[in-house]
Amino acid sequence: MENFEIQAITYLSGELQGKERLAFEKFLEDHPQFQEQFQELSYTWNQMDQITTPEPSKGMDNRFYKMLSQEREKNARKSGLQAMLASFTSMLRPVMRPQLAYGMLLLVLGLGLGYYLNPGKTQETDGAQVVQSAETEEVREKLVLTLLEQPSANQRLQGVSEANKFGKVDEKIIEALLQTLNNDPNVNVRLAAVEALTQYVDNPVVREGLVQSIVQQESAIMQVTLANLMVALQEKKSIEPFKKLIRTKEVDGKVKQKLKSSIESII
């Protein structure tokens, strides 16, 4: 028999069942030399049954359960840490999404680039603004001068209102406004010029110009306006021109009365 070794062990261990078992028994009956071998094996195999195994001590159980509880604690600590880590990761997860990450990256890059370029730019911009505002003033000045020379009263009015927008007024503008005040054919334009010049009464040239303008005004409304202004300014130099107006025949009687009362208020 080719697989006698295997068959014998299978038989002894009880794994050989049914027909195979019977076939093996028949084989042994037919082959005395194998039967002898098998009996020797069987005898030794059965002798091994006589060995007994002692019981493990209680100490083994104690050591095992101590180890298990330590392991359980370690595991609990670890899972606590893992839970913390997991919640932290879940908090971070939206941030870690690629689209958002790219967005954040771009934002940071933009901020960084902006911060890096900002100081130089600001200085440049300040300079540019100064230059720009200087240029604007110049253009506006030219615009005012041009507008004041226009034949249309509307445009001249626009010119006067443009002149109001200057922070610091130029002598040329003052001159142009005084010119308008004395010579403009339209009374509204002249009134607007008075109003515009009122802003610069601290300037002696303006004050002088206004005083000298009194005698040149033929319109009653202009005379009264200037009279009010002079009273407000308490400009004593204006007394003489007013007296001169009063002596003029063409001046309206009521205006004369107004001028007289103005002179009295100034004195």
């Binding site: 697989n3 070794e5 295997i6 014998a8 062990i9 299978t10 261990s13 794994e15 020797e40 094996l41 005898y43 030794t44 195999w45 002798q47 091994m48 049954d49 006589q50 060995i51 007994t52 195994t53 002692p54 019981e55 493990p56 001590s57 100490g59 083994m60 159980d61 050591r63 095992f64 359960y65 180890m67 298990l68 392991e71 359980r72 595991n75 899972s79």
Partner: protein
């Protein structure tokens, strides 16, 4: 059924349910203790090695796939634990390996005892004289009631090869018996 249940329990341990380890321990502690005891004849050492097996099972629980039987996996671990122990203590192990058994058996021999005890001591001593490789295959087969397909899995060989090993081990054991009886 038992193996299936063992596998289910071990898979639960793997997923973090450590309490199931206690159940597995209760089921297999005697088998494992017997395996080590017959391998080295030292009860106290065997208890330590049983402990080592369960420590290792916990440490490597992630490697348990549930594909083979839990018993085979556990005895494979036990075999490695035994091998590692004797490799580490190779110099001192030889005398201690059989110390408990030998001393007890020698004591038994010293007193005039019954034939039964004589036979038991003879079998024990003969078994201890077998090479560890041959001893382990006989222990797994005879005392642990393992099928040869499982034994093959523990030893890392085919079922047939495991049977051939067992056959040769029994023959060697018989030779040792005869030598001891004649001496």
């Amino acid at each position: 059924m038992q193996a299936l249940t063992d596998n289910a329990l071990m898979l639960k341990v793997k997923s973090g349910d450590m309490d199931k380890m206690g159940l597995l321990y209760e089921r297999h502690k005697k088998r494992l203790f017997g395996f080590f005891y017959h391998m080295n004849g030292n009860a106290s050492l065997s208890e330590d090695l049983v402990q080592n097996v369960f420590v290792r099972i916990l440490k490597y629980k992630h490697t348990f796939t549930g594909q083979g039987s839990f018993s085979a996996w556990m005895f494979r671990t036990a075999r490695n634990v035994n091998y590692d122990h004797f490799r580490k203590h190779s110099k001192e192990c030889r005398p201690t390996e059989i110390s408990t058994l030998e001393y007890r058996l020698q004591d038994a021999d010293a007193g005039s005892v019954m034939d039964y005890d004589d036979t038991v001591s003879l079998v024990n001593r003969a078994l201890q004289r077998l090479s560890p490789e041959k001893r382990e295959v006989l222990i797994l087969s005879k005392y642990k009631a393992m099928k040869y397909s499982e034994i093959g899995s523990v030893l890392g060989c085919s079922e047939g090869a495991a049977k051939v090993k067992a056959h040769r081990a029994i023959k060697d054991l018989r030779t040792i018996f005869l030598q001891m009886e004649n001496s």
